[in-house]
Amino acid sequence: MEQKYFRSLEELKLDVRPETDNKPLGDRQFIFEMQQELKKSTTASRRDFLKVFGFTVASAAIASSCEQPVRKAIPLLIQPDEIVPGKASYYASTFFDGIDYCPVVVKVRDGRPIKIEGNKASSLTQGGTNARTQAAVLGLYDNSRYRQPQAGGTASSWEEVDQTIISQLNAIKAKGGKVVVLSGTIISPSTNAVINDFLTQYPGEHITYDVLSASAMRHANKLSFGKAFLPAYHFDKADVIVSFDADFLGSWLTPVEFTRQYSKNRKLTSGEKEMSRHIHLEGAMSVTGSNADKRIQLHPAQEKQTVAALYYELQKLAGESGTKQIESPVDVKAIAKELYNKKGKALVVAGTNDAETQLMINGINQVLQSYGNTIDTSVQLNIRQADDEKVQQLVADMNAGKIDAVFLYDVNPAYDYPEKDKFVSGLAKVGLKVAMPVVEEETAPLADFICPDHHFLESWNDAEIKTGYYSLAQPAIRPIFNTRQAQQSFLVWMGINLDFRSYIKQYWESNLFAQGDNLTFTGFWNSKLHDGIFESGQKETEVLSFDSNAALQAQQNAKSGNADQLALVVYANVAVGTGKHANNPWLQELPDPVSKACWDNYVSVSPKLASELGLKEFDTVNVGNIGELPILIQPGQEYKTLSVALGYGREKAGVPATGVGKNAFSQISFANGHMQYVRPDVNLEKLGGTYEVARTQTHHSMEGRAIVRETTLEEYKQNPISGNEIREEIKKHLKTLYPKHQYDGFHWGMAVDLNSCTGCNACVVACSAENNVPVVGKEQVLMAREMHWIRIDRYYKGDEHDPTVVRQPVTCQHCDNAPCENVCPVAATTHSNEGLNQMAYNRCIGTRYCNNNCPYKVRRFNFYDYNGSDALKGNEMDPAEMTTDLRRLVLNPDVTIRAKGVIEKCSFCVQRIQEKKLEAKTENRQLRDGDVVPACAQACPSEAIVFGNLNDKDSKIAKYYKDERNYHLLEELHTLPSVGYLTKVKNTTV
């Protein structure tokens, strides 16, 4: 062995190695030497030159070829408190578009709003939403938003525009001209104050124009109570609801609030044994009518007579005499009896904009003692303030050249005014025309100046929907474009150097602060802004007394129209409504709750009329000069009633709205000063063509299968299992050789109360927004390729002329014994240990076997590259232009975009489950029941969807599963679904 000597003790202990000066320099050394050489060689030889040249060229080539595109990701120097990357912030706000009111919470990720949810703090909607509210977030990213101010059709700057407008306003003021602010209903007290200030400075008038008008109701109340107002309704307090064509679950007044109220009194999940009874009389089949316990077909021309007769019958029951006998086209005696028996707990409403009918409805409610019980006159509804006569007068004045300036705010009369040509010609005669639109529309291009307004998610605002029910709106994103809030514009034009936020604060400080219980205004403001809601509990102070003379007079005058003539009803559907949101692809692709049609409007025709006229589905007709529209045979439609949805036929709205459907606003007429949505006598002209309407459901019968199980209240009271008897039978047969799945931690489950679901479609849009569900366009829907992860099946039962309607929301059932899982060759769809049926999109190769083998057909295949994520370029299928950079901002970063050729489906919002689990973990607590709420359940205005942990025996979901009404869809297949349904109970108790 080699001997080792040491020189010192250190060397013995440590392995000391002699230090060297020549550290390896690698490339640096090479470069260094090169530089040294270069320095030395003052007279460079040819070789040196070539060496240097070669080095330079090579390094340049390397440097340039390795260049990466510069991606700027600049971290914030000072991190704002509320922003944590990857974590959502929530801001309370208020959605109001003239028809729908909904207090909301806006989910913001990385500075961009991606989802709207209902605000639970509101006692009116209690977290409920509707389809349009859910879809509004996409409106923020509308491709056809105005991006800067325009003057005379060319881009301009705010300074220039303001300067010209102010000088013109001053000139008008100087000559004593008239300024008009034409707006939709404004429920914002601060906005109203701004406009009032503006019109004080520049004298003129504020005229409200509502596309869906309730001016007849206001007029009738003026005659009955001496004040033009709308009262607050309480469907939850009514045991019997009779509605004459009032679509209160879809479009009448405040449908989100009404849906919440309505469903509250129809739930049987907490041991209730009673529920409200809903009788609906209408011509066309509406969402509300399809939910009724009893639906009576009534020709619109006979409505007035029927209301008069009902009034008479009730008077008779109440012992009030003096009116003459009135014949009714339908039997109202029974209805009268039912109503009268529930006196004080009854509610009668009518959707018509006919003042006489509304007067009689007032009379009826008076007899039934509804006022003070189911109708509250001390709390007034501030929606639909328009006085149709004033709008008509304005159009006349404009045509007469009496108006010098008009400011168009939140209105689009060149599209939706019934006599739009008159409006357009009148507008041309106005000296100063200023439009304040958010998105491209028909009216704005006719104005001199386009001063684009912020989207509501970029704005400050407040609202008072009902007396004492305030809410606030705050920006959830910085303005995307060079726009300015309309209220701010008014302030600028008044020369007031104050931002609108401060204006609102001032208004709240001086008007509302006193009603709160905070000590300081800052505290008051911050808490209200945080909640988004301020319910002061204040009431109207005037004492209103009912005067029935006008109602009786109306009853005397009531005459039946001719029910042999074809009547046309125009209505706002739950999707595009009045057309304001027509450019929202989610809404365009949303199937109608009744007809299941999307991407078009059409003429609904009763089966009897269709066969009489020899019309087949999709034959084109011209009704009242709307233009060529296809017909859709609608079971349950009254024999001689036709109906067409409003909101289609946009001309300048961008992709996809432009050119979809036909504009039916021309069918609205004025009678006694009120806009009429019914034309009692129209011509139907057969055009001989055909035009296919895309529908997401084409088979409408349940074929006698126990899919939607139903019972009546009477039977339910006797035996809660009624309607669901078959389940016991099925359970007896469920035998297996295999051990049951064990879930140690969570076992997620969902339950749907079929009694609560109204089919409003809020869940469908919410799911699309949450899960980045692509919009595929009409052609693809026609090919049955819509991508919705949740759908609401609608079946007709019974006679096609007078069917009953049942609905069933269907998502992935997350079967414990899932047929889809075992057939996937690559195990792309698997079962989680929490009972979720999962999809690994990256693993999916698209054999579609899972889709075939799913008995519920809830799996969706990406037939094309719907979202531009394919590796191949140029093959996108995006007819709705959802993949523009702007619209893409709405995508939820927590949910993967699915590529072409991949199957996708409902995940029970697994991203939400994970988020809440993490939250609980960081807070070191157990997950509580109700922590995890999937998008569909969150959106539901009637709380029909319940989600939770089945292993938690105290959870709401466990309670629902124990309910006798609970059943699973196709349980006999032994798929062991994790979605339960509670049987539908109809109240047929007379």
Binding site: A827, G846, P855, D870, G901
Partner: protein, 456 residues
């Protein structure tokens, strides 16, 4: 060896070995006829149509097909099963008939096997092209990877992958082993150097020595033993694609035997269609005689009747099961919107083959040709009925839809037919259509002169 004098001779015309070699090799020699050129042009055009459709499918996606949210499989899988079925005749003839010592198979086994291979290739194309993400199709193989991904052995589609690839591989080897002595013959008869070199290489140095023959026979027998169960297993496994599912109309235990007999049925029909034309065009009428055709027709009666019984049994079981979905599915097949497809299937598969009970019909070439076409059509519709009518109306009526194919789907089908005929026409030119060595083995025992000698 004694052969019953009553039996029809298998080879007509008193031939010697040299004659046999010459006549069978004739189609390979010289320039192809104008009919050959016409045929390959037509087939090539059809194949190009298929190529266009393939491009459309891969570039734009499955959306170019007529499928939808409810009907996830349409023409693609129909064609797949149809081609797999056709691919059953060759191996059935050469393996199972070999084991059963059916000598008449020697005239037809070569071309039937070639047809099998081409049909399996056509069939294999469909599961590939119908994948949503073809480029990731390799996920289907259980290859080791760092991401710990593994395939799902519960899935019948995975069984398919193994079944089809095994079947193709074994059939290919079996066919090639059978070819080796003939390739030696071709080499020996070749006139050009290149031809000699190529066939020399392909024949693996076959000399025809006794040792070679002995080994060849042994390998053939072993392969026949291997291939025979495969004939039965492939379509059994294909039928599992349907039988293991929950869809009414698919979820049926009768499927394996039903599918196998259907496959043999359709395979024989396709062999007949091809050979009736080929024997005439290639002047092989003395080798492929009416006796052969009659024998095949007898197999068609048998398998066609099994298929017919299966159809009726399905209906009975639907009623007997008491399952409303099952009952609806079958009523919907026969009387629903796709009833025309069902009745085409019933007519072509159950009724027309029964005509072969008449000797006049089963020995008539024209009638056989027509009926074989009917069977081909009928068997395609059988798969269409199973795939589409079961899917389009299953459990929840809300999802019920109709399905119709797009031009691209038609293109893919026509394309595989084009490919099939292109490859078959090429096969005729490069390989002997009849197994020369094997036919020589029966020439002495079952040839015309032998028979003639017995009659004297």
């Amino acid at each position: 060896m004694y052969v019953s004098p009553i039996r029809e001779p298998l080879i007509r015309g008193e031939k010697n070995y040299g004659q046999v070699t010459k006549e069978i090799l004739a189609p390979m020699a010289g320039k192809p006829s104008k009919y050959w050129y016409m045929g390959i042009t037509l087939a090539g055009i059809a194949a190009l149509f298929g190529a266009w459709a393939t491009y459309q499918t891969i570039y734009y996606g499955i959306g170019t097909w007529g499928l939808n949210k409810t009907v996830g499989w349409g023409w693609g899988i129909t064609n797949f099963v149809w081609w797999v079925g056709i691919g059953h005749a060759g191996t059935f003839i050469s393996a199972i008939l070999l084991l059963f010592r059916q000598k008449w198979r020697t005239s037809i086994n070569r071309s039937a096997e070639a047809m099998t291979l081409i049909a399996i290739a056509c069939a294999g194309f469909f599961p590939l092209i119908h994948m949503g993400r073809l480029l990731l199709g390799f996920f289907i193989f259980p290859y080791p990877n760092t991401r710990a991904l593994w395939v799902n052995f519960n899935s019948p589609l995975l069984w398919d992958v193994f079944a089809i690839s095994t079947y193709f591989a074994v059939s290919l080897i079996f066919w090639y082993v059978g070819l080796i002595p003939d390739l030696g013959t071709v080499r020996d008869k070749a006139k050009t150097k290149i031809r000699k070199a190529i066939y020399g290489f392909l024949s693996f140095g076959w000399t025809g020595s006794a040792r070679h023959w002995s080994r060849h026979e042994t390998v053939s027998l072993i392969l026949a033993g291997l291939a025979a169960p495969l004939v039965l297993s492939v379509h059994t496994i294909v039928s599992f694609d349907f039988a293991t599912s929950v869809i009414p109309g698919w979820h049926t235990t009768i499927f394996p035997p039903y599918f196998v007999s259907g496959a043999v049925f359709s395979g024989f029909a396709m062999v007949l269609t091809l050979l009736i034309v080929a024997r005439k065009a290639l002047n092989l009428e003395e080798y492929i005689t009416v006796t052969h055709i009659e024998s095949m027709n007898k197999v068609i009666i048998l398998t066609g009747s099994i298929v017919g019984i299966a159809y009726i049994t399905e209906f009975f079981m639907a009623w007997y099961s008491g399952v409303e979905y099952e009952q609806y599915a079958f009523m919907n097949r026969a009387f629903g919107p796709y009833d025309w497809a069902y009745w085409i299937m019933m007519t072509c598969n159950v009724i027309t083959p029964q005509l072969f009970w008449f000797k006049k019909i089963r020995t008539s070439l024209v009638a056989t040709f027509i009926i074989s076409i009917f069977v081909n059509i009928g068997m395609w519709f059988e798969r269409f009925v199973i795939v589409v009518t079961s899917l389009h109306r299953d459990f929840l009526p809300s999802s019920w839809v109709m399905y119709s194919p797009s031009l691209v789907e038609v293109g893919l089908y026509v394309g595989t037919i084009g490919l099939f005929f292109t490859l078959f026409l090429l096969f005729i030119r490069v390989f002997p259509v009849i197994a020369i060595a094997e036919i020589k083995s029966v020439l002495k025992s079952s040839g015309d002169h032998k028979k003639a000698a017995h009659h004297e």
